[in-house]
Amino acid sequence: MIELAHLTKQFGGVTALDDVSLRIDAGERLALVGENGAGKSSLMNVLYGLYQPDSGTISFDGVPTRLRTPAAALARGVGMVHQHFTLVPTLSVAENVVLGHEPRRGLGLDLSRARTEVAATCASLGFELDPRALVSSLTVGSQQKVEIVKALHRGVKTLVLDEPTAVLTPQEATELFAVTRTLSERGLTVILISHKLKEVLTFATRIAVMRRGRKVTEVSPQGTTPEALAEAMIGRAAPVGSHAPATPGPVVLSLHQVCSQGLVDVSLELRAGEILGIAGVDGNGQRELTEVVTGLRPFTSGVLTVAGQRVDRLDPARARALGVAHVPEDRLRRALVADLTVEENVSLGRHTQPPFAKGPRIDFAGRRARTLELVNANDVRPPTPTLRGGALSGGNQQKLVVARELDAKPKLLVVNQPTRGLDIAAVEAVRERLRAQRLEGCGVLLVSLDLDEVLALADRLVVFARGRAVATFERATFDERLIGQHMLGVAHA
């Protein structure tokens, strides 16, 4: 039995954990639910020895223990599979698994023993993994298996899974839960971090709910409903977005047999006033699609028509001029510059046009005025134009990016993972903006790895697999199972 008592942790003045106490019984399947930023991952990273708590204690079978590093946690049988994989792509499966407790022969590393041992662990889990294979050559689903092997190879008794299904197809997720359930029946304690309430309710034997760094309640899956859980997570009734029927207008984006690095013969069409969702397992051409459409990636053949204009070559400036706006998946990589101020970030992309410029000069007054308008209208907090962009919270950064892109009055809006890492209120705010944009006659191309998000927002849906558009569904015919099969490339057309 593990007991977490009164744990508190701050990051640079922001409280991530606020006096959290939690008991974990041997052999149970405990689910930790809460919004993004509720403190679930922080709590588990403290248990895993990655973060040091500011105060509070962790006890194993009643013995208070200081976990200074993950090594200490591993020694006490705690393993963790992180949401963002911690695998070295250039190393083999076996090397990744034994990293940190390598079998040795004399001074050297005993790689052949490592391979045999890892193969044995894989076999005991029923995983088909080649210990010699480079991790970079594996699919996302297989990489996750390597993560699980890594933990179990250390003989852990408690396994933490942090959002394990975030990047999996429904089929892969089902398989993951089947394996985990078997392990649990063999005596493994499992802690599942998730915000997907359906999977939590079917899998867990106990559910702990966190909100704003505190544990607010514990319930059993039999005694609750998804609605009640959601309410506990956000502290009030969950907002539900409604989906008005689409009124499609003229075509704003069309691809005819477009090829590029990562895309094969992609043909699709998007009309004004509709949201076209792109579903697929990570790395199957979705990012390449958004990059081609926004001019960030050249296409090698095919016909691309943007806002009624056929383009032979597209660069980001041209795309913007044609009325394309872009909310990329990783805002700090492409959309927002952490070291620029909020107002400078607002001008980014249109910094050579009024009201941000007067001839070759920066129009400081115009920039300030427009920034104040935007941050106030979009509830960006704090509404300080001179603040560093990096000092805003993730949700406010995203609100700023969306506000900026929509301020350009786009004909085509390309969004990739628009709500990743946001709390529920911010998620709903962003989704509401997308729906509003669609009603105003903008065409929205929505890419998300979260199938639920695509299902919730899209009027039509195209499934991508291995760089191809393999299937199209109308909203009326959305079928999660069938979509999942297409994502894996196992469906028969």
Partner: protein
């Protein structure tokens, strides 16, 4: 204002700490009185002997040292700006040395071999130096954008190539000064009077127009980055090239243009050296001007006015450094001060934290 002050802490504190540390080092090595006298002499050599000037009323006591300081500061500013401009777009220009070398040679050749009235001749020399420096920087820039060759490696190579070709071949071979009479002359031919940078004061001070050029360059660079939309685009390239590309900025072009500007600035620094003080390309330039440029750019935190101010300070200390030899301290002592200051500046996070503590936000922190 508070922001400005806070931004200065990471530069000012290391320089002061380094000065104090090096002073204490001299105390340990040579004792209190020597240390006081030596530093006194250095500062008098750097900023002028004001007490004596007040006593005797001899303007030379102040003007001469300040002139030397200004001449040194001009070179430091221009090389510092060269590195800083590249730095601002995310490039590390270690090649200022090579660019300065070819710029100096170009100025020396045009200055000596062309016969024109001063109004045209001097600008032509400067232009030749700028073009030569830019040309020398062009290759690393192109290799970076087309082949992904890291500019740190390529500019180091270009430095060696420049120094080898210029000092081991051209200056001792084809461009060697023609011997006049019995005196054998080292280096290239003397430049014509029409190519010389004019002195700013008659008599006492040797201060030349190079400093005016340097200050102008600093102001232009400062205005470009702070006031123009194009400069804003360049800054974004330096902070986040991916975001710049997504915002429609042609990153490759900016990289090449910035390197050309950086090379031109270093080239002009070479010209100021030749046209202002050396009057020819000597056998060897000798000093690590490129390294000094890196130091100035980093100490000034890549800001044009910051570079100007630190260059004025260290130009003065350099000028004063020659007087240290009387006290048994090597004249390169200011370089040591500069080096330690740079090492301290590298610990940026520490000073930023200190700045926040010394000058806290007035509004409560937002979580």
């Amino acid at each position: 204002m508070r922001e400005r002050l806070r931004a200065m802490v990471p530069s000012v504190v290391p320089i002061v700490l380094s000065l104090v540390g090096c002073f204490l080092a001299v105390v340990v090595l040579r004792g209190w009185s020597v240390a006081f006298d030596a530093f006194g002499a250095m500062f008098a050599g750097a900023f002028g002997d004001w007490p004596k000037f007040v006593d005797q009323g001899n303007a030379g006591l102040v003007l001469r040292p300040l002139g030397e300081a200004g001449n040194k500061a001009a070179i430091l500013t221009l090389t510092g700006l060269s590195v800083a401009v590249a730095f601002r777009v995310g490039l590390f220009n270690i090649g200022a040395q090579g660019q300065l070398t070819v710029g100096a040679l170009a100025a020396a050749v045009v200055g000596a071999k062309v016969d024109l009235p001063a109004v045209v001749h001097l600008p032509l020399c400067l232009l030749a130096a700028a073009v030569a420096g830019a040309g020398w920087a062009a290759l690393p820039a192109v290799l970076k954008t087309t082949r992904g060759v890291h500019e740190v490696i390529s500019t180091i190579m270009m430095n060696w190539i420049a120094v080898s070709l210029v000092e081991n071949w051209l200056v001792v071979g084809p461009l060697k000064a023609s011997a006049s009479g019995v005196n054998s002359i080292s280096g290239t031919d003397q430049i014509a009077a029409s190519a010389e940078l004019p002195r700013l004061f008659e008599g006492g001070s040797r201060l030349n127009a190079g400093l005016v050029l340097a200050v102008l360059a600093a102001l232009v660079v400062w205005a470009f980055f702070g006031r123009l939309t194009r400069g804003f685009g360049w800054r974004v390239v330096g902070l986040n090239p991916e975001a710049a590309r997504a915002a429609g900025v042609e990153v490759g072009q900016v990289v090449v243009q910035a390197m050309l500007v950086a090379g031109a600035l270093a080239g002009v620094a070479g010209a100021v050296l030749v046209l202002g003080t050396e009057q020819k390309y000597p056998t060897t330039l000798g000093a690590p001007y490129g390294f000094d440029g890196i130091a100035m750019a980093l100490l000034g935190q890549g800001d044009a006015l910051g570079v100007l101010v630190t260059s004025l300070v260290f130009g003065a200390l350099r000028a004063g450094g020659t007087r240290l030899q009387l006290f048994g301290v090597h004249k390169s002592f200011p370089e040591l001060i500069q080096g330690f200051a740079l090492l301290l500046v590298a610990a940026r996070l520490v000073w930023e934290r200190l700045a926040r503590r010394l000058l806290p936000d007035r509004e409560p922190k937002h979580g």
